[in-house]
Subunit: 535 residues, 2 copies
């Protein structure tokens, strides 16, 4: 899957991480015996780039290029937070080719953007499966696999190779030369960051859950194995701790929570659901296992929101027949998270499901089947699917899905309560993740997954981890901002909590046992009665 | 040639460049989720070492050692001028093994000191021939040889290999393990520094004589090819320009010119003679070709002040027979610079030479020979020499030597005049170089090589370039001081100068055409008359 040519949505001032600066060095003379490289550093300082550093292995090459260009050239410099690194000296041409990669190191998918830094343009976006999945779909299995050095090396090498292969193919496809790549900006969760850096991740899942490292120095990309980018700096977003990784910090930066006076919320639905709440004064984060079903990973015919996934569903109130949209057109392979939300919402509104998420008894409809696992709804006919099989959604599937949506609502409710807020205090809610690009907030409210707020409160921002990484490349002030966000975030542990269990039980219903929480949702007339006796 | 076990003469406070610090990390808990490495950085910060950096390739190893030592260990940290680099984590033992190398990268010789940094002890000193000599004894030939990349690579590789071999043998002979070497501190002239760093030196000898680099970042030793020291930082003293290198900056640091309120002078007699004059307020430097004969390199039987060299000479005023000392005992192989000074001084005082440096006519003495090259004096009989040949010093040899001593005096005189000083304003004069260890100031004054000042003004300080490099390892405040000295030094060009030629002619005599300049020197009665007609 790849996209091409769209803007990096950087609304802030223009302070790129990498700059190509026209330099005319004053000619050396007997009266000014400053050495070539010191002369370059002095001139860059006069142009506001100070202090300057040059990697020892680069010095001779740069001197030859300075002299070879008769002291008149472009210096490509990269900011590291504390100094400017001279990455290259190139011939003076009006068109400066300064490119970089943004990487989202996801547990299940790796996403890459090739970016024209000077123009703030995304030239190409590619998404690949994370090859580490062969050693465990979930991150915990991989952490256990990495307990010995060999396992860690296997996981790291497969990750670096997949990233290398993808990036090399992208520059080849775009006709860009490897030495024009000057930055690689990466964000991942804490375990993925450890794998990427070759760090022992074993303490991430052992009480008291202390990672090996939370902050990472800016290094030459070749130091992490990307030898083919001789001029690139590599940046990895810092983690808050084992449960809040650089992907979330990057997401906060992308959504701008930390720059807002009003209170805002970021919901990142990936393999886990991760929530950040706050403003420019404070930020709180929590994480919970709400994700897999929402990402389509647990439901039998579930899948990620990629080509072939059903992402939109409408059910005719009379015939109870579904109408749906398949991502990329063509036949359906499965249903993604937003598809499931719409399916359940529509099944509920058309009275196929009751508020408990059970199929209504005595309902007559050609789309209903009795299976060994109980009743099921035919979402797609065999003629509509890629494999020629009917796509069934069972009561079990719906039960699994409702647990995810209940977990999500509970987490949102709890984190607000923890800081003494009600949902009405939230100015904006950003829904990130691939999921966030496809979700219809009205549908998600209807099933009680997210609070019943004005729909304009909700904003899908897509892959916010990737977005933060690409924004950083076009705005170096975000380097310090990311570090500040990391230091500000307080992590709230929600996992083992009796309060959560009580909340959760009410949220398992559609939309909730307490309809006052969802005043905008029309509860169908013929739902089951006397809820309290059934809980 | 090697020496063992003497102190690094650091009179300043105890601020070693490398420190081994006992660390007890607070145990991680659910309430303190700081990552292992961030916890280490925080604790080192509390102990006054901040900011802290860790090389990306080291992170995993350090985490394993931190955990392997149950959070109680020694952190070996090195100062870089801007931050502390964590070099290693080792088991907590009362005895911390922290070693380093000081290197003097001389044009003709490489000198190495293995230093116990914590104890400020030189464990071993070794001196080797510079292997680059096969591509040219003089630095200019080597610079020309290095004009293409292959030539530069050959020169650099031979230098790095010679340094590697010497250092590896030294640690083997001392029973020290390579991972206990934490610093390599080097000083050399500008060309040698360029060779060492692999930098193109060609502009050093092309007008306007601008080196590729004057300052060098502190790097991991492995970055320059010293892979076998996995934990070592490498420091190379900065240059002022093509003619004043890091060896001189290191010498200024060693002699303390820059810390003195009174005006002092440093004379470094190596392949060139290099002079620095000044105090804590200002420093001026100049260089001139006074060196080779003084180092024994031009005179036929001349040699460096190493084993087998005659370094002290007395001549019986009546018999005109010489008595001499051979360095290391045994038979004589040649005569070194200080031996030549004493020989000429004694030949002058015993009237064998007149004030023009010619053999006195009509002198009868069994030690005088007539050779095809003119008259000569037998310094050593065939029974006293290693090769069984008489050691003759001819009038031609003496003529060459007198040019060197005249050049030296002229340079000293000119640099003082340039800044409006007379010799009497000089509080201390430090004579550096191997030469400086052996020279007797009274003898040097007698021949008019150095000004006629109270003898206590003169101090031989040996290899000041090596001394500064070793002092730096035991005192990190010298890092900033070296940079400050570099920025302070003003270079004075003396090379092409009519004034110098006039001065020089007078200084060719013994001690000088103007005896008022050398009131303490007793001019022998029967010297030739009417000087003026003969000049």
């Amino acid at each position: 899957m790849h996209r091409t040519d769209f803007d990096v949505p950087v609304k802030l001032e223009n302070h790129p991480l990498i700059e190509s600066i026209a330099v005319d060095l004053p000619a050396p003379s007997l009266n000014d015996n400053t050495a070539d490289l010191d002369r370059l550093a002095r001139t860059l300082g006069q142009l506001g780039r100070s202090p300057v550093q040059i990697a020892p292995g680069k010095m001779n090459k740069l001197v030859r290029k300075i002299r070879g260009n008769d002291l008149c050239f472009r210096a490509v410099v990269g900011y590291t937070g504390t100094h400017w690194e001279v990455l290259d000296v190139v011939a003076r041409s009006p068109d400066s080719a300064v490119f970089g990669f943004a990487l989202d190191l996801g547990t299940s998918r790796l996403v890459f953007q090739l970016i024209d830094i000077a123009r703030k343009k995304v030239i190409r976006e590619v998404s690949e499966k994370n090859p580490q999945a062969v050693w465990g779909e979930d991150i915990l299995s991989r952490i256990i696999f990495a307990r010995d050095q060999e396992g860690l090396a296997l996981l790291r090498d497969s990750l670096v190779k997949a990233c290398s292969d993808a990036m090399l193919k992208m520059i080849e496809d775009s006709g860009i030369r490897a030495h024009c790549i000057y930055a690689v900006s990466c964000a991942g969760n804490t375990a993925m960051s450890h794998f990427f850096w070759g760090l022992d991740p074993s303490n991430i899942c052992r009480e008291p859950y202390i990672p090996a490292a939370n902050t990472f120095p800016i290094v030459r990309a070749k130091e992490l194995g990307f030898d083919f980018f001789p001029n690139a700096l590599l940046y990895l977003f810092p983690n808050v701790g084992s449960y809040v990784g650089g992907d979330i910090i990057s997401g906060v930066i992308a959504s701008g929570l930390n720059r807002s006076t009003g209170i805002q919320m970021l919901i990142d639905v990936g393999t886990n659901a991760e929530i950040v709440l706050g403003n420019s004064e404070w930020l709180m984060a929590c994480a919970g296992a709400a994700g897999p079903a929402l990402e389509g990973g647990v439901v039998e015919r579930g899948m990620q929101a990629v080509s072939g996934a059903i992402d939109k569903v409408r059910i005719d109130r009379k015939t109870l027949d579904p109408d749906f949209r398949v991502i990329g057109g063509g036949k359906a392979s499965g249903v993604c998270g937003s598809g499931l939300i719409e399916l359940v919402a529509e099944m509920f509104s058309s009275k196929i499901l009751n508020i408990q998420g059970k199929f209504s008894t005595g309902l007559r409809c050609p789309r209903l089947r009795n299976t060994p696992d109980g009743p099921a709804y035919v979402l797609a006919l065999s003629s509509q699917t890629g494999d020629g099989r009917e796509m069934l959604i069972s009561e079990i599937d719906i039960g699994i899905f409702l647990k995810s949506k209940a977990a999500m609502y509970t987490i949102l409710s709890l984190i607000c309560r923890k800081v003494g807020l009600s949902f009405g205090d939230l100015k904006n809610i950003y829904i990130a993740g691939n999921f966030g690009n496809h979700i219809d907030p009205e549908m998600a409210v209807r099933i009680g997954m997210i609070p019943d707020l004005p729909l304009e409160t909700y904003h899908g921002i897509g892959n916010s981890s990737l977005l933060g990484a690409s924004m950083l490349m076009c705005n170096r002030t975000l380097l310090a901002e990311a570090q500040k966000v990391r230091d500000m975030v307080t992590y709230i542990e929600l996992n083992v909590n009796i309060e959560l269990m009580n909340e959760f039980r009410g949220a398992l219903f559609i939309p909730h046992t307490d309809p006052k929480l969802f005043p905008s949702v029309r509860i169908p007339q013929s739902g089951p009665q006397s809820l309290n006796t059934q809980v």
